[in-house]
């Protein structure tokens, strides 16, 4: 069976932009995204037949913070938003399996953000004891990922072998205006 038939296939394709998270239990849904140095984690619960995808870069929105611990805090946050959304739709944490994609090298003369993103994702999954069942990370090309959330199947193709910096999209504001905000009762 081809999980990714083309055109007039009755499947609903949903595009996920940087900073977004989408979870679905719709058997006809295909979650898609285009990645450069960003990372997408595709998580699924094969028992509950729920899956989801996020798309993030290790950077705290608007803060300008680049130290390792603030990047980790943002990455953990991005993963937790996805995991919580899946649990709200009936997934069980201990059933979760993961695929990760992206993390291409920017070659911008500074540190390799893509590699940092991929390392973070692998370490997070290991620490959380979530099985990593597939990955396609690194390299220099942009990727297009298609994910069937209820089946847990993913297809990842190199969308272009051009260096990813030419494909960089304008940064999308991430809706976390209240980062770290404190309210007392």
């Amino acid at each position: 069976m081809n999980a990714f038939p083309r055109a007039s296939d009755g499947l609903t394709r949903i595009n996920i932009m940087q900073g977004e998270t989408k979870v679905s239990d719709d058997p006809n849904a295909v979650l898609t995204t285009v990645l450069g140095s960003c990372i997408s984690a595709c998580l699924y619960d094969p028992v509950a037949k729920v899956g989801g995808l996020n798309h993030f870069l290790l950077a705290e929105p608007g803060s300008g913070d680049t130290d390792v611990s603030s990047l980790q805090r943002y990455g953990v946050y991005a993963m937790e938003v996805l995991i919580n959304a899946m649990m709200a739709m009936g997934a069980t944490r201990s059933n979760l399996k993961a695929r990760i994609y992206g993390g291409a090298s920017l070659r911008d003369g500074f540190r390799d953000i893509g590699a940092t993103n991929a390392l973070f994702a692998r370490r997070f999954l290991r620490d959380e004891r979530i099985a990593l069942v597939g990955e396609d990370v690194g390299g220099h090309g942009a990727r297009r990922v298609e994910f069937r959330p209820t089946l847990g199947l993913a297809r990842c193709r190199v969308a272009s072998d051009r260096p990813v910096e030419r494909l960089r999209l304008p940064p999308v504001p991430v809706p976390v205006a209240a980062v770290g905000d404190v309210e007392f009762f």
Binding site: R93, E128, A178, V182, E183
Partner: protein
């Protein structure tokens, strides 16, 4: 920076219990709180937190909301039922930010609400305020 010395002048550092089902989140919190000079106890959900609270008296509880077995709302309610923890400050630390959920936490007896990802300086200021 003197603002990073919450226990200045104290001979015994305060103890904070963190409750979160994510090992990554617990590690980040432990690193930040240890840097601030606090002792840290950990629990991975509301049930384990209640078990541990039977034997220790932390100065502050920081809890997540979405957790298996017993979530943050349930934990706060159970803690407030116990006389010995009636005055224990409880800060919620969560990705959630809806007014409805904040109201539930307030009604359950939470002291404050912090939205993830936490900022170490804001977290430190909130802790200082509730520990006074």
């Amino acid at each position: 920076m003197t603002t990073n010395l919450p226990n200045e002048g104290n001979t015994v550092s305060s103890t904070i219990m963190t409750v979160d089902d994510s090992p990554s989140m617990r590690m980040l919190l432990k690193a930040a709180l240890t840097d601030l000079g606090y002792k840290v106890l950990e629990a991975e959900d509301g049930v384990q937190a209640l078990e541990r609270l039977g034997g220790v008296e932390p100065d502050l509880l920081i809890t997540d909301i979405n957790m298996p077995r017993l979530d943050g709302f349930g934990l706060i309610e159970k803690v407030r039922e116990q006389d010995r923890h009636r005055n224990l400050p409880i800060l919620v630390l969560t990705t959630e930010s809806s007014d409805e959920k904040k109201q539930r936490a307030r009604n359950a007896g939470a002291t404050g609400w912090i939205v993830k990802p936490f900022h170490p300086d804001k977290l430190a200021a909130a802790i200082r305020r509730v520990l006074h």
